[in-house]
Symmetry: C2
Subunit: 334 residues, 2 copies
Amino acid sequence: MGRVTIRDVAERAQVSTATVSRALSGAKPVSPAVVDQVRRAADELGYAGNGIASALRRSRTDTVGMVVPSIANPFFTGLVEHVEHALQDVGRQLFLCSSRSDPELEAQRLRSLVARQVDGIIISPVHGSLSTTAVRWAADELPLVQVDRYVTGVDSDWVGVDDDAALELVMEHLADRGVRSAAFVSSQLTNSSTELRGAGFRRHAARLGIAVRERDVLLGEYSIEWGRQAALALLAAGPRPDAVVCADDLIALGMLQACAAAGVDVPRDLLVTGFDDIPFAALSHPPLTTVRQPQAEIAAEAVRLLSRVLGAQEAPPARVALRPSLTVRSSTSR
Amino acid sequence: MGRVTIRDVAERAQVSTATVSRALSGAKPVSPAVVDQVRRAADELGYAGNGIASALRRSRTDTVGMVVPSIANPFFTGLVEHVEHALQDVGRQLFLCSSRSDPELEAQRLRSLVARQVDGIIISPVHGSLSTTAVRWAADELPLVQVDRYVTGVDSDWVGVDDDAALELVMEHLADRGVRSAAFVSSQLTNSSTELRGAGFRRHAARLGIAVRERDVLLGEYSIEWGRQAALALLAAGPRPDAVVCADDLIALGMLQACAAAGVDVPRDLLVTGFDDIPFAALSHPPLTTVRQPQAEIAAEAVRLLSRVLGAQEAPPARVALRPSLTVRSSTSR
DNA sequence: CGGGGTCGTGCAATCGATTACCTGAACGGG
DNA sequence: CCCGTTCAGGTAATCGATTGCACGACCCCG
């Protein structure tokens, strides 16, 4: 297990370490015969190189870090998958961290990524303001792109979905279905995208003449469990609204389950919508009408923006809001 | 963005770099006054350290790599979350890679992790034999623990669930429900756990007098989509078995959806079981009876085994098969 | 045949932190 | 008051790969 180094290879191939390095990386021309000799020596010794040493010298690791609030949420894992895919095309690896929706942990992850000298960071920050300090610091240290959510007060690229447009789609769809009153179930409005969804909900409800009672706006967290609890609270509290707009699919799925358990028929008695269009949204009973996020595009754009900065091209921070679309399923069709 | 190094801190604090290093790491005693001075200097300069340089010198990174076949599958993401949790307690960070069920990509990830000098690797190998070479090589280079699945011919620790016992639970449960014939829908039997599940299915079916027709054993991949397709194939092909045993929950959920669409009532017309007990298994229609994997325990044990090896304690490779349990829901209750 | 250019290779500095070894001061006991 | 011990802190080697610079061989053209 004693690691084999470039010196060992050099010795065996009867050349200098410089030549070995050049032969293997192809950075500078080396005569074919020598390349062959070196390759053989490296193979015979099982030379694997030392990425750490290489990273130290070149001060780049060909690695980007990604920090997401949760890896239990299929929306984020989908995003991660696409990012990983996109990165592979530009020859980089992904270093994934979960901040578990904790700004403290998030700051720690960021510090760790910076210390590990990743070439850049893609982050979906936990909190609109509590995350600011750490994100700003990281953005000062190296290229950083925010996805899905962003914190205020940091000049960095951002790419996500147009949340207001998304809620416009949802609310107009509901209005078309004859909805006159609606509830909104969400996590706390402590990050940009959630906040924008809440604002969009209210704005478009007002515009379309859909009534919103204050007690029908329920804020908890992005989880199935919260969806269940919110459903119970909603059903227990007097007259039902015509529809429930959920800020993500996990909440909506929990809501659907609790409704079924309580004998409330969706969509006959109540319409329900979600957000993200995770794979499981098609499997619920009834299948969920939800906003489809263009995950692949978001990921590709994030990687593109990061590469741009990595290529040292100075440019004003970009804010890219992609158009969402609506996937209509049975949870809103009578 | 010019990084601040230990020399800068040393200069500002009027001490040597050695002292800075010791003051910040606490490796050797440094007078409180100097520690304070150094701390202040480091703070003022925003010193973040260089993990790469440190790693090179100490030849450890306090990082472990994890390679899973898919990060779209909630079973693996659940595992990853628990592993990350457990690692945090021992002061290490997780470097997550997805092999996307491709042995080639998996080998590449392993090479990359070794080059990055992670301290150890936790892997759920893609393929029982195609993964062997890469896994063996990696296991030679550094401590390695296999989880869930294992490859043949590598002496490494493994921790997972007792698949035979799991299928015993499933089949006995089905027998109790009066099932006389069953189908098995799975991915290809090209990895250890899937293979063991298939074998367990047959063994316990035979033992309990449950009939299994060859054409009712359908092998595809671990995905919702394959579950759907298998359902169609199964329903199209003459007389239905009494039950369908699925090798994971994704397949089972796809199966349930396709059954509902085809007007087959589960559990009245057909019983369906899954494997893993992912969060979404409780949300389907009907809720899914499935084998619960003790994810937290698997993760904790994997980390424990890895720490054992990292602590240089030589020991024979351990194979830890944890007991699964059965979560009974409506998909098998008449 | 000589001068300028190209090309392959080696030497040694370098990246930034850690640490083995050394130095000098302070201190305590005989 | 002297010598051995202790301890803080400095000097410089080290981890392994990359790369600027230099050197020698060879080629081409005038």
